[in-house]
Point group: C5
Chain length 359, copies 5
């Protein structure tokens, strides 16, 4: 179903109507849970959603990672289990939704975007990731199994450090941090591409370069729309007192804000650099045009009049018919005289061009 048809379909439906607006990226929804505290760690795949309720336990942190958003029914059952507002699920399913933060009585709802860059097709792909942070659980919704979270899973398994000690809010911080760190990686990749553009543009730009820069700028804009709203969100997580976030974790959120700020600055800087490049391209191409046309004009201005002159003496007027008909042709010094005259023309023109600073 195309986006347009989808939008048409949704139009007029009740608020909270559940329609998945993305493409199916995984075959089946998978639900993985991590249930841990500092001493124990249980990791398993859940098939029966009813199980989830039982896992909630004030002594442990429960992380439910749901991968795949196309089976709306299953998600609806998860929603009911945790007593989540239907409007929240609507936003989880709407993969075009911008990052946002919403506080409900018992839980926080946060949408952000994970970014990936495919160097082959030079495309930035955006994944919609939603977080529901409750008292001692965290539910994450992904379109596909991204690898940003793997690193965190690994840490949960191998260390008994901070991540196992601190609560669900710290887990959310670590997952967000992992997403933001990934922005930095992507941005550095793009930096290399951009430097390459610079070289090509100043050297031998062609139609393809320009189209590529154009598409690159579009990708940068896509990135901006994903990254910039997250900065606001982290900022309001810090500024407003959130009962679900421990005060002692504030320092980590501030650090995260720092990272996202730096990513935003970098993106904005890239945008400016691209514009700078396009401008420099215009200036150099104007310069080249001027150079080209100066050459054309010099050559034409010298040789077109000369060609006219030799054309005159190529005329076939019958000098026998009248003494006025091209008597020059029979002069003793006719030919050297013409050559000399043309030489003078050339010299004069060259002097003029030099004075005009053209040569």
């Amino acid at each position: 179903m195309s986006k347009l048809n989808l939008a048409r379909k949704k139009h007029g439906m009740s608020p909270g109507s559940l329609v998945f607006t993305g493409e199916k990226k995984v075959e089946e929804i998978t639900i993985d849970i991590f249930q841990y505290n500092q001493t124990s760690l249980i990791e398993k795949k859940i098939d029966n959603i009813a199980e989830l309720k039982e896992l909630l336990n004030p002594q442990t942190v429960l992380w439910i990672n749901i991968c795949g958003l196309h089976e709306v029914d299953k998600l609806e059952r998860v929603r009911e289990t945790f007593n989540i507002n239907p409007l929240v699920l609507e936003d989880i399913l709407n993969v075009t939704h911008s990052p946002k933060l919403e506080e409900y009585e018992d839980y926080l709802f946060l949408i952000c975007k994970s970014i990936d860059y495919d160097p082959e097709n030079k495309k930035v792909s955006v994944e919609h990731i939603s977080f529901i942070l409750g008292k001692n659980y965290l539910i994450t919704f992904q379109e596909t199994e991204g690898d940003e979270f793997d690193l965190i899973r690994e840490r949960l398994r191998v260390t008994k450090g901070r991540i196992r000690k601190l609560g669900a809010d710290y887990l959310m911080y670590r997952l967000l941090d992992s997403i933001v760190d990934n922005y930095t990686v992507i941005l550095l990749q793009l930096d290399e591409i951009m430097e390459n553009f610079e070289d090509v543009l100043l050297d031998k730009p062609n139609q393809d370069t320009i189209e590529e820069i154009y598409h690159f700028r579009k990708e940068i804009n896509k990135l901006r729309r994903s990254v910039i709203p997250l900065k606001e969100i982290i900022y309001s997580l810090i500024k407003d007192i959130q009962p679900l976030i421990h005060k002692s974790n504030m320092i980590f959120l501030k650090d995260l804000e720092d990272h996202i700020k730096s990513a935003v600055e970098t993106v904005e800087n890239y945008k400016e650099q691209i514009n700078n490049m396009i401008e420099i391209y215009r200036s150099t191409s104007q310069l080249k045009l001027n150079e080209t046309l100066k050459v054309l004009t010099i050559i034409s201005t010298i040789f077109i009049p000369l060609t006219f002159i030799v054309g005159i003496y190529g005329m076939n007027f019958n000098s026998d018919a009248s003494p006025f008909n091209m008597p020059e042709l029979n002069w003793y010094l006719g030919y050297p005289f013409v050559l000399g005259f043309m030489l003078i023309v050339v010299v004069v023109l060259l002097i003029i061009f030099r004075k005009k600073d053209w040569i």
Copy 2:
């Protein structure tokens, strides 16, 4: 009457003077009412405006939908029935009025714009829609019978769900949501058109393409002027405590704000994309110009001097008249020598061009 004449006519009239500033789009004003609560639903057409008063009933919600704005007298009687300020009716009739929200003691007055896109003429058409929300009634004023509201009518008829339970404020929310959903549909249509522009611009742009983009930009601007103020309005509906809106419906308004925000972002994004396209068009066309002129310059620079040379030996100086008159013509190797000389000229020029990176 042209707009200019109309404006001239209105000039100097009392505030609250009633002049319809649009075009007559329906033959006759129609007044449809829905009177409902969770158990009953009455739907009928009203001819006699006096009836309206009697329909007001604290147990039911009354929705009065008025279609057509040209019969000012009828509207005036409606106004009197509900004791609405004349300035409000003035704005209802002024179809060029921007979206706005005004709070009066007993009612809320809201103007918004419904959008339609005619793909054939590539024109965005804007319909002026006004809402008057009272304690348990809602009056809507349309220029013509749009189909956005049909879906809501249908729901009123078929379900006994939320829409029948909740009050007039919820009905207004649903109608607004329906208008905003329609923005999304229109925006997706425009997206397809814009992608088409991109292809044409990079491929074979002509005068028509440019004029079309120009008109498209105008249409986008029209859209912006309709969509952006609505965001502000919804925002102030949420922010200011409105006695006429139930606190429990706030969550729906927030959802609506979300949708309108997303529409605004999309429109702004389109604007940026169009500017991007125009820029890219300029750059590629500059590039093409440079290419074209390089070809011209290369060909001219090679052949104009050669033509001069062959022109010399086409002169008719009489070599019998003097030994200085073109003795070359009688040389044994005159012709091969000239051909060889020209070949050298060509080779030298080609080397120069290669060095300049022109070929």
Copy 3:
């Protein structure tokens, strides 16, 4: 006296020094008064300024309309009569002063600009209008007898409606409203001009069109500088509680704010449209340039080499003098061969051009 000399003269004078900075537009200052309440209306011309004081009367509203600003002495006497601050009169006389609002203890001082458009010279002319609103009097200062106020005078004479009942503040509102309504009329006139520009620009622009657009943009800017500050002024009239404005008249000021807002939006929109037009002009003219030069390059690239070829066989090398001297001229198929060769050249070039998408 030129503006520069005037400025030089004023330089160093005391604050409140009275210098009229405009051009004399009427022969003599005229002072018309309307003294009215709901039951009576006196309208007369005043010659003796001393009379004015006596006309003040708490039972009636007194409107003093002063037309012409060049007789500084007379105005000074009016100032003294009503005990106005000298700095106020200084601003009344300085016709280049921007719109402003100032509150004094007993009166409000407001400057605005009335706009006129002369379609023949395509010039926007700006008139400086000042209001002094006291407890039950209103003094208006005009450079010349504009016709915006005539409509209000007419209403005062013919109706006994709101305008006769409500106080001096309502009168000021009506006069301001009349000025703002006139903005709308002017803006609609400009709209027609602008649409005309569009057609010319896309069709056959010339030097004159561009200069006209340039001047039009200047006029639009003049208009902006007059209209935009008034919006701020009306806004602060509404926001700050003004003892001289009845609370019941607030609703009219809000309506006025609405009108001025709409005028400001229209002006801003015009500005954007002009920029849009200029851009579209640039793009189409770039396109036309490319087209023109493509034609030149194609023709030159085909015919310049051909001319060279035929030039070769126009040389007069003596084929009798040597077997190497242009033996082709004597070949049996020399001429057809050359023609055929040139045909091949043309065909090859056309294929190349087609591949480059030039033809």
Copy 4:
């Protein structure tokens, strides 16, 4: 010492290190004082700085005008006499310092810039002027003896009006007002220059015009940097309650703010106009380019093919050697036929050009 060396020298020095950063504009520092109240006026030149202390007297206002900033020692002694913070003197000496306002316990410190325009070199020159306003004294520091203050001196001498009655704060206001009035004079001078540019640009622009506009824009920017911060300063003089400024003088400061606002608006307007001019220049020059190249293309497209045709019949193929060798040359109607053919070519081309709207 160049600015760069100076900056290097200052680098690492203590705060409050006294280095004069300007050029010496007067031979010797002069210190003039005016000591006045409504009944008496003493005006004299001071050589011995120690005298200054004795002149302070609560019954009179003391104005100390110091002209020339290069004798740092003398200024240091003045500083000590009035117990001014060393950082203040540092800023007085740093002529590149932006306008600023600083409140100290006993005095106000204000920097502003006096502007001068030299029409010959088309240069705006900026003079650094500092004010120290104490309880009943005002110290002014100038780089050179500007004539703005002469008018105020004259008034002090001749009148016994407001300026002699009101305190040191009124004197400062009058001096500032005099500086701001001078801005208006300069701005009107620049207006005339700018109008001249407009005419030249639309008529016959050349390299010099463009360079002049460029330099003019730089001068306007210099002006902006001097004028705009002063607006902020005056505004904060009004907004914050300053113990050293009498409340009754507030009305004068408001008037001054009005003047400076108008100067700022004018400068901003100039900036916009220059950009407007540059844009119009670009558009007309693009238009002229198109016109020029259309002429070139028409002439070339007509005559280059024709020249080729006549070139064919200028070839010397020996028609005796073969019946295929240019038999046309011997045809009875060969010549008229060729002429006719060329005529047809021309007519066809002209029709094509007309269709393309080129001629």
Copy 5:
């Protein structure tokens, strides 16, 4: 390790993970301390980090200058000694981190950037400098031994003035001031370069000039990103009450804010000037293009038709074969007639060009 790999490595690590992100600029980390009060001064190199703790002493100020950031272990021990948050050290090591200020309970953490300009490579280099200000100690972290601090060291050694009397906060101010003073020096250097650009651009711009300006703009942007955030930081040092900064030192911070403000203004001004230069370049190059093409068009328009005419009479139609074949060639005044006709053509064209204002 490239930045990209580094970022990949860091990705997923715990917050506070210590990775140095810069290049190793010194062989070995050096730790220099100054321990001073007004009467004593101890200056030494520290090898054993354990020593540091013992040096803390409420009677003296301790300045620890650490040069080189690559030995993470050593820095970690310093961190532990002073009980600094690990996140702080993470930022100290991340040389790409923007300037920032963070308050902790016992210390202030401040990052700023020291700037250097290498005139040979025309590159701005940025050094990451961190400050930790405690009760009576200051720790500074540098990448390399810059010379800005030498001047302060020298003052500590030679004077017993303010710098020895006032606390660690005054020392930090002096170091920051020294960094900001250095900005001014660099900015003046850049000013000279920029003036040089101006001359070249208006005279004989080439590809290299444009590339240089492009790189210069990038360097200016680098500078901006270092300088502008520092302004905010100093501002918040002043605005928020900081327990670690003595109120009596506020005046110095205000002076510092003044300096940094002026640096920011200068940088912004440079940016504007560069844009101005690029624009002027574009305008002059457009002008030159027009001039060049006017010459080409004039020459072509005159000589191409003439060449055609002489080409006609170079045709070899056999006038013996028919009376219609070029009888002109045998006319008595054929040649003078043709010359005359061509002269008329030239004169007419020149008149047309003069009318078009082309010559």
